[in-house]
Symmetry: C2
Subunit: 204 residues, 2 copies
């Protein structure tokens, strides 16, 4: 087994989802912390060696570097029951993971970051203008999950998969972004099911 190093900012949900996948897959990660608020992922050394895109998380596998949180989860989940064997279900897990990065994270995670890190009073004029649009898009994302999970215990194939891990990361802490989990009862029950899995680890 090659050495695995997670280059991360621990409080990021995108980093947490990789630790959660590793826990379920039984993989051991070394962890290297970067302070994103101090620009530690934009240094010339980071851009040259770790990720030219200047972002964490990056999963280091031996001497190779894998950016993009959901790609790292897919790598760690490979060969375990976290990835469905059926070809359609495998693509369906990826469907939820692509949607997470396009329709969920840019809204639900961004509001958590704006409220919890930057502070509403410190938002730029553009961020203030974007706030209602992002809030509405986040509400739509949570509603979509709630409708789906009202008819299924897990996102794909009736079983716990890497797609559940990926969506759990920012959904379980969405109230830090001003969303109310009480409005999404099926999501709440699903969060409980995910957190009750053996090997579950928490964000903190």
């Amino acid at each position: 087994m090659e050495r695995l190093v997670l280059h991360e900012y621990a409080r990021s949900g995108n980093c947490y989802k990789i630790r959660l996948t590793a826990a379920h897959a039984g993989a051991t990660l070394e962890r290297r912390e970067y302070d994103i608020m101090q620009g530690e992922t934009r240094t010339p050394e980071f851009l040259e060696r770790i990720n030219a895109n200047g972002r964490i998380p990056v999963l280091q596998v031996g001497d190779r570097f894998l950016p993009e949180s959901n790609a790292a989860c897919w790598y760690l989940a490979g060969g375990t029951p976290l990835v469905p064997e059926d070809r359609f279900e495998q693509a369906d897990a990826l469907r939820w993971m692509f949607w997470e990065q396009y329709g969920h994270e840019p809204n639900v995670a961004t509001l958590r970051f704006w409220f919890g890190w930057i502070g509403e009073a410190n938002l730029t004029a553009f961020q203030h203008a974007a706030l209602p649009l992002k809030r509405e898009a986040g509400l739509a994302a949570l509603r979509l999950m709630d409708e789906h999970l009202a008819r299924a215990d897990y996102l794909v194939g009736g079983r716990f998969t890497v797609a559940d891990i990926v969506l759990y990361a920012y959904t379980h802490c969405c109230e830090e972004g001003g969303y109310r989990l009480a409005d999404y009862p099926a999501v709440r029950r699903w969060l409980d099911r995910v957190a009750a899995q053996p090997r579950h680890v928490t964000l903190d």
Copy 2:
């Protein structure tokens, strides 16, 4: 082989990438067109049966529906040389595909849509405010690709994969969004390599 139906808006790059993957994989798609400018993907029937998220493309496989363009590409590419067999390279292909949906499409594709469909004079005040940010993020995305492709003929593993197809879709028509391909010589050479592949099909 189950019947494959692409629910699409043909001029969308997200739909084109599925047709291009199907062409390379030797899969035959039936095609069903929706006019997104007339709200045909927001009807109760569409939301109930095709995609609760109200968006195209959706790949129908028999009587199952797969939203998210890159998940559909992954499904069609499965079992062909378009998906790397090596576990790290497979995750690395997905890394580029997640990045495409997070860092490339929301900028490069959105400006093509704003300029080519909505028209700059018809943008909302918020879209006008977002324009310079999206333009800059799109420039950064094209620069990242150019730096990578200056050192490699294809995005992953030195071979043509589904990741190249996915990034080709909106990169090859980025000038419709105001970007200049002349600024990215390595990207231009890669576009030529992709378009020279046997079985290539064009957007129109």
